[in-house]
Amino acid sequence: MLNASMKSLKHELSAISESPYFHAIKAEFEAEGTRFEELAILNTLCTDLNISLTLKIGGPLAQRDIIEALQLGASSILVPMVESGYIAKSSIEQFERLNASFGSLNRPSRIYMNIETITAVKNCEEIIEATSISGSKPLKVLVIGRSDLAASLDCTDAEEEKITSMAYNVIQTSKAHSIKTALGGNITQRSLENIRFLHSHGLNYYETRKCTFELPSDLDECCFVESINRALTFELSWLRFKNEFYQDRATQDNQRIAKILKRMELLRND
């Protein structure tokens, strides 16, 4: 059973990698709470299929998460909840120090940061400036997390004009510093219009919980919808795989429980 779902997961992973605009697979220690062994499985499959893996760590100063992401050879590390220049600088310095050691064994990873609260939007310029270290700019992408941004403003809909306008501002600031931008958070068919608008002003990527897509110069509606559907299908097969992974362990324990109960019954009867 587990083998079947593993095969299905690999099949879906292969399919998503060939879907329109596909860029990378995502996993996270943060909200998704991916465990290390789950991540190891996903990482092995990604390596086999030559797919980039972005790993979202638990927080800007989560050193253990960075070490584990680098041990696995994640192509990119996404840092959530960066809200000030000081924390951004501390985070990037920690990443650079560790990446320098691990980078000599694996390919060096890239660092991305989430802008996902009103505080972070306000401090976007300060955050970007703080991440420049002696002339070099390790920060490659800013990911605008619309769901949390909306929540921090007590909005219920990520498609609201207010959110798009803030995303626009982040994109403009990033562009001025040659930093790419991605848009995430509740991306559905409804997001197409806003993505088109933001793309025309420099947005580079959009992302779902599990996949990142690179925006082409001519964004096609059918391909966009297909990419979202593929991403959801992949996420579903990932969740099914995890479900069976743990179910399989529970089944093994249940078999042992039945055996012990039978032995105890035999002892009582003797």
């Binding site: 709470g33 638990g58 989560a62 253990r64 959530p80 909840m81 000030s84 501390s90």
Partner: protein, 231 residues
């Protein structure tokens, strides 16, 4: 290893998580039966709300009423948040007394003097930093939360902290956090000294374990180098 040490020595165990929504860290810490969670880098009311809802995700699986929470404040923005609004009403699955704002003085000084290399002494800036903390903490204390400090903790700094209007309930020095009584300075200083001695002992043991591992790699490198290069 540290958890076992704490259990054997009769200390509570505090686990530092990666961030306010570090679900994996919270899950693992609760599985280890941690007594406290510490969350770094809180700078906004939203981050505190995120922390509260991340912890509450586990209220079905674990009894969280006895869990202690340390919320790290290490930036001027974090202090401002405490001063201006407090933490506006996230609900917690434990009493507010169990939630302490832990002010990281080393981080605050580092931000103030714009130094990220750690080449400074907290004591050189202690007067201003302590005053800023003292002014910032009143509102959250009135709201029923606790507070503590960390960074540059020495016997002298304990003396300086004892003069504050709002004395910290917790003082964190490296691996150990303790609750000074403040009415008997000699006893507090003795406690700090004992804990710092213990920390040195624990760190040396940890260093020993790590160097045993690196020694094995070093020996293999030596062996290969002699065989491949020297012939």
């Amino acid at each position: 290893m540290l958890m076992k040490y704490c259990r054997e020595e009769g200390y509570l165990f505090n686990s530092m998580i990666g961030g306010c929504e570090s679900i994996r860290d919270i899950q693992e810490s609760l599985t280890l039966a941690t007594d406290a969670l510490e969350c770094p880098a809180i700078e906004s009311d939203f981050a505190a709300r995120k922390l509260s809802s991340s912890i509450k995700r586990f209220s079905g699986e674990y009894d969280l009423s006895n869990l202690n929470i340390f919320i790290n404040i290490g930036t001027e923005r974090g202090l401002k948040l405490l001063r201006r609004t407090g933490i506006s009403n996230p609900t917690w699955p434990m009493s507010r007394k169990r939630i302490a704002f832990l002010i990281d003085r080393r981080m605050l000084v580092s931000e103030r003097i714009n130094s990220h290399d750690g080449h400074f002494e907290v004591r050189d800036h202690e007067k201003e930093v302590n005053a800023a903390i003292d002014q910032s903490i009143k509102l959250v204390l009135d709201e029923g939360y606790s507070y503590g400090i960390s960074g540059g903790v020495t016997t002298e700094s304990l003396q300086r902290l004892s003069t504050l209007d709002n004395k910290p309930q917790y003082v964190k020095s490296g691996l150990f956090t303790f609750c000074p009584k403040w009415d008997d300075f000699q006893e507090d200083a003795r406690e700090l000294y004992n804990l710092q001695r213990k920390e040195l002992d624990v760190l040396m043991r940890m260093l020993n374990i790590l160097s045993t591992q690196s020694k094995a790699i070093e020996q293999r490198c030596d062996h290969l180098y002699k065989y491949l290069v020297k012939g």
